[in-house]
């Protein structure tokens, strides 16, 4: 527990003014009057004092009657029932003859005035109204309602029972008044607050809230007591600029590959079916190529005929790759279809095609967007990110492949990696990658890997060389890290979410 003296030093000048005033008055308007401060200053001081537990703020909710649109109008024009009586005072009037009372007001007036016996109603061809004695007296006495309306707003506790009755009647009518709730705060000294006030000196010591340039220059700080800070109090959040958390994760992962000596590849998101699939030896009738899985554009692409013929041969007969091929007719038309890339492996295919034998060994990676024709829901995105890596090196094999994966996932915070048999049309052997999450104590599916088939490498490279390849899903890593269950949350661009997302570090 801090001592009284320590607490006193934490008080700003505003608090020093407001605290003694609470001895005399509790309500905010009174405190404003008492201290000569403005409302915001009093409110602030009260909040600070409450934080220090020198006062307690009590909340009181009160009902308030406020004037509404018609009420404002009646204050100018007079209540409709008053105008009604005034019109018939000199002489009875037919319903169509009223000038000062609007049509929609007439009904209300008639009911109301009749109930109070202020008017007589005759049913002739038309309704005709005449004033009674009571009515004439009413005009003389005047309408209390108008006087009350003039005083609004009023809190319900300040009203007499009679006035309340009048207001409740007015409430039943359209838009004359309305009832609202107002919260008022009252300050009360706590035991600690009272204790502090007993020692007058404590509050009278001059303290400076701020260290001013003036004090520094003149050296007056030596004689000044600076207010101390309550170091435990909450501070307002700083508005800071921020990278999108997906880009944070992407950058983190890119960095790992760069550290491991990988070169970054680039490539387009719009591709021909040829590069996205055929060049990777995906048979043209492969189930995954069906229309509904892939976004297609309306036009065809151009494909270089030299490489097209080479790939065609490999599909049909295996060409010079030592394979039997798919032994099915190959359609150049299907190859020319334009699509949104279904995997970043298409960029690896382009890269292989540009590579020269003397450049080896080479290691490449890409983190990029890929597409799948899905309807957006909590577990499906139609756009997501994939990490692809390839190693082109005559000396690589499955043992090396596992080595690269282990290295990457260790840097990603996983302790172990295992691979299990899987199938992809372009790698053989193919495997599924699982990494061990030491916190959750479970194996997490991460993506696929393998060694590119000779049908792919021989055709694209022009020579035989094993090429390690892997493709990892980014969104799984992101949703695991940020504990996002609904994948749509990743791309919802909600300002609050973007501001409060933690940084990506493993």
């Amino acid at each position: 527990m801090p001592t009284k003296e320590e607490i006193a030093l934490e008080l700003s000048n505003l608090e020093r003014k407001v605290l003694p005033a609470v001895l005399k008055s509790n309500s905010i308007p009174e405190l404003i009057r008492e201290t000569g401060l403005i409302e915001i200053e009093v409110l602030r001081a009260l909040q600070w004092l409450a934080n220090k537990e020198l006062i307690a703020l009590e909340k009181k909710e009160e009902e308030i009657y406020k004037i509404d649109s018609n009420g404002k109008l009646y204050l100018k024009r007079g209540l409709p029932e008053k105008r009604f009586l005034q019109e018939i005072e000199p002489k009875e009037k037919k319903i169509s003859e009223f000038k000062q009372v609007d049509k929609d007001e007439l009904n209300v007036c008639v009911g109301l005035l009749k109930r109070n016996n202020y008017i007589n109603v005759k049913k002739e061809q038309e309704l005709t109204f005449s004033i009674t004695k009571e009515g004439q007296e009413k005009i003389k006495k005047g309408f209390v309602e108008e006087a009350l309306l003039n005083k609004l707003p009023l809190s319900s506790s300040s009203l007499t029972t009679e006035d309340k009755k009048i207001f409740e009647e007015l409430l039943k009518r359209k838009n004359i008044i309305l009832k609202d709730k107002k919260t008022e705060f009252f300050a009360k000294l706590t035991v600690l607050g009272k204790e502090l006030l007993k020692d007058k000196k404590l509050l009278e010591t001059k303290v400076a809230d701020k260290l001013t340039p003036e004090m520094i220059r003149t050296g007056s700080w030596k004689e000044t007591q600076l207010k101390t800070f309550d170091i435990t109090s909450k501070v307002p959040r700083i508005n800071k600029g921020k990278k999108h958390f997906v880009n944070e994760a992407i950058e983190y992962i890119r960095n790992i590959w760069l550290e491991l000596g990988f070169e970054e590849m680039e490539g387009n998101q719009v591709q021909s079916a040829f590069w996205d699939l055929d060049a990777l030896f995906v048979p043209q009738d492969h189930p995954a190529r069906e229309l509904q899985d892939t976004f297609y554009l309306e036009h065809n692409s151009k494909v270089d005929s030299k490489i097209l013929q080479k790939v065609k041969k490999v599909h049909e007969t295996g060409g010079d790759t030592g394979s039997k091929g798919w032994q099915a007719p190959y359609s150049e038309k299907i190859a020319q279809e334009t699509l949104l890339r279904t995997h970043t492996t298409v960029v690896s295919a382009h890269t292989l095609n540009k590579l020269k034998k003397e450049d080896l060994p080479k290691k490449y990676f890409i983190v990029g967007k890929v597409f799948r024709n899905e309807v957006l829901d909590w577990k499906h995105l139609f756009e997501f990110h994939q990490v692809d890596g390839i190693v082109i090196d005559p000396d690589v094999n499955l043992v090396k492949l596992k080595g690269y994966l282990k290295e990457f996932f260790t840097k990603m915070g996983f302790t172990d990696v295992r691979i299990r048999p899987a199938h992809f049309p372009y790698t053989e052997p193919s495997a599924e990658i699982e990494a061990y999450n030491p916190v959750k104590k479970q194996w997490v599916e991460m993506g696929g890997c393998g060694i590119f088939r000779p049908e792919v490498t021989k055709t694209l490279l022009g020579f035989e060389c094993p090429v390690l390849a892997w493709g990892l899903g980014m969104e799984r890593i992101i949703s695991n890290y940020y504990k996002i269950n609904d994948l749509r949350e990743i791309y919802k661009n909600d300002l609050e979410q973007l501001k409060t997302m933690k940084t990506f570090i493993k």
Binding site: E263, G403, S430
Partner: protein
């Protein structure tokens, strides 16, 4: 890829062993199939498309049996000689040219086995048969048909028979138009002058592949003891493999197989044929891929574990089971050897050749731009590349790249500018405090005949601010600060664009080249997006900026 449910007891029967679930779980997931779960009664497993031979309980158990070491090597199957004959006529040549067949006798069918047969047929149709396009299978009770059978093609109107499950006769055209299966698969025969049919010697139409069998001759039930099976398609190898997969499954069920002579114009094929295909495999080739040296004897042992037969030394001669469809290249044998060796037994070698990491310049630049904008309190947003084409049109973006088959009309085109999605982001954040500052770096797409795909992709940067006191100046300040950071001098030229307020918009010019636009969004657009505060925005071609900055770096 299909997920199939196998009867656990049936699998254990076929394996001939009692095996605890834990062991089954482990072995199945390393066999090259993706195990979903093992329950009290069932094994649920996903079969990859390269192994359709595992789609039946019999085929699955056969593979598991050698893999687990309860058996070894290539399992021998044979079909008895017979006089059954199928004559293939020239008419089918242009329509569905090939068929392979088998007769199976001595079937002891019960309800469960019958369902199993139907399930195998369906799974093969969907996967290996590519929804009956590549191949389709028909099964007929032998007693209802009489040999020889003719595989021919007739004009749709000449075809008349009662389709399976119906009680009246349909013509070929009617089947396509009115019958459920006909409507589903009719497109496979669309625009063909003639439809393929199997006809027996009594001139009964047995079926119209790949659509439907006849009710009279194509209905198999528990009393059926003998069946005739045909598979039709476009490649003899494909259809005969399908017949082999079925025949071996039937044989494992206890059926007795009989050959069928399939007489083509020029030659006669006898199906099924279980003669294994031969492939040579170099011993070194295996070690090279595996990364561990294996002796020939080890390789042969592992191949036998996967149901192959093999012999040899440095050069190993491998006999491939006749039902395997996935061995195109020696590398496919390597994969099976690795599976038998055990993926779990592969060590990891962290040694790697030293190469230098290299970041793309454009990525470096994007990173720098992000850092600069974050420093001035801008928040990065991340929108989809696909957006609604109507929205692009409303913002006067013309000639956008459209998607042909998007499942959702909200996302039916590629964005030509980042501005629409940025405005959308402001709209969805209206309930938060202002001012708001957003930026996005992303790809935009436009038509360009010069590109192979006829689409040009561009890295684009959009910086924007929204709030009561935001004006043209707000973003001009950002532009100024950004380009100054890269020491790039620029000038602004007034521009009139519908989305901007007149007199508050400009082209951004660097080295006489336009690199982007800056301006204050027109209230019309703000109203359209239901945004109540002014927005000032810029969009820059980052690829151009990157080129300009790289040139500057070279100058230094």
């Amino acid at each position: 890829m299909p997920t199939i449910t196998l009867n656990k007891n049936r699998i254990l029967d076929l394996l001939g062993k009692k095996i605890p679930d834990e062991v089954l779980k482990d072995r199945i997931s390393y066999l090259g199939t993706d195990l979903e779960e093992i329950t009290k009664e069932n094994i649920v497993v996903e079969i990859f498309p390269n192994r359709p031979d595992l789609l039946s309980e019999e085929g699955f158990a056969r593979a598991l049996k050698t893999f687990m070491g309860f058996d070894s090597g290539l399992k021998k199957y044979s079909a008895k000689k017979s006089s059954y004959q199928v004559v293939v006529q020239k008419d089918v040549k242009e329509i569905r040219p090939y068929t392979a067949c088998v007769v199976v006798k001595n079937l002891k069918l019960n309800e469960e086995k019958l369902l199993n047969i139907i399930a195998i047929q369906e799974k093969l149709h969907v996967t290996y048969g590519r929804n009956r396009k590549r191949c389709a299978i028909g099964v007929y009770p032998l007693t209802k048909i009489s040999f020889p059978i003719t595989y021919t093609a007739l004009k749709p109107e000449e075809i008349k028979f009662v389709p399976l499950g119906e009680n009246k006769s349909f013509t070929g055209t009617q089947i396509l138009k009115q019958h459920k299966t006909g409507k589903e698969y009719g497109y496979l025969l669309e625009n063909k002058p003639k439809f393929p049919v199997f006809i027996d010697s009594k001139n009964q139409i047995l079926s119209m592949p790949p659509i439907i069998n006849s009710e009279q001759t194509g209905k198999v039930d528990v009393k059926t003891k003998e069946v005739f099976i045909e598979c039709s398609g476009f490649n003899f190898n494909v259809v005969s493999k399908a017949i082999n997969m079925l025949s071996t499954a039937f044989a494992d069920m206890g059926g007795e197989l009989f050959e069928v002579k399939v007489k083509y114009d020029s030659k006669t094929e006898i199906t099924p044929s279980f003669v294994p295909e031969q492939m040579y495999l170099e011993q070194d080739y295996v070690s090279k891929y595996l990364g561990t040296h294996l002796k020939s004897t080890e390789i042969i042992k592992l191949l036998k574990k996967m149901g192959f037969d093999a012999e040899g030394n440095t050069k190993i001669n491998v006999s491939i089971p006749s039902y395997r469809t996935d061995v195109l290249h020696p590398i496919d044998l390597v994969e099976d050897i690795v599976i038998a060796y055990g993926f779990e037994n592969i060590k990891e070698d962290p040694q790697r050749p030293s190469t230098t990491g290299k970041e793309l310049f454009i990525e470096k630049l994007k990173r720098k731009i992000r850092e600069i904008l974050i420093g001035t309190q801008y928040i990065e947003i991340f929108n989809f590349s696909l957006i609604n084409s109507e929205e692009q049109k409303q913002l006067k973006l013309k000639n956008v790249v459209k998607i042909k088959n998007s499942l959702s009309s909200e996302y039916d085109s590629l964005r030509k500018s980042l501005i629409p999605s940025v405005l959308r982001t402001y709209k969805s954040n209206k309930h938060y405090e202002y001012p708001q500052f957003f930026f996005e770096i992303g790809t935009i797409f436009m038509k360009n005949e010069k590109k192979d795909t006829l689409v040009e992709e561009q890295n684009s940067l959009c910086i924007s601010a929204c709030g009561e006191n935001v004006s043209f100046t707000t973003i001009k300040q950002e532009l100024d600060s950004l380009l100054n950071s890269f020491n790039v001098e620029y000038s602004l030229i007034r521009v009139k664009e519908e989305i901007y307020i007149e007199g508050r918009s400009a082209k951004i010019i660097v080295n006489k080249e336009e690199i982007g636009c800056v301006g204050e969004i027109h209230p019309n657009v703000l109203n359209h997006f239901e945004i109540d505060f002014p927005i000032s925005i810029l969009e820059i071609d980052v690829d151009k900026l990157s080129r300009i900055i790289q040139e500057k770096i070279l100058e230094l």
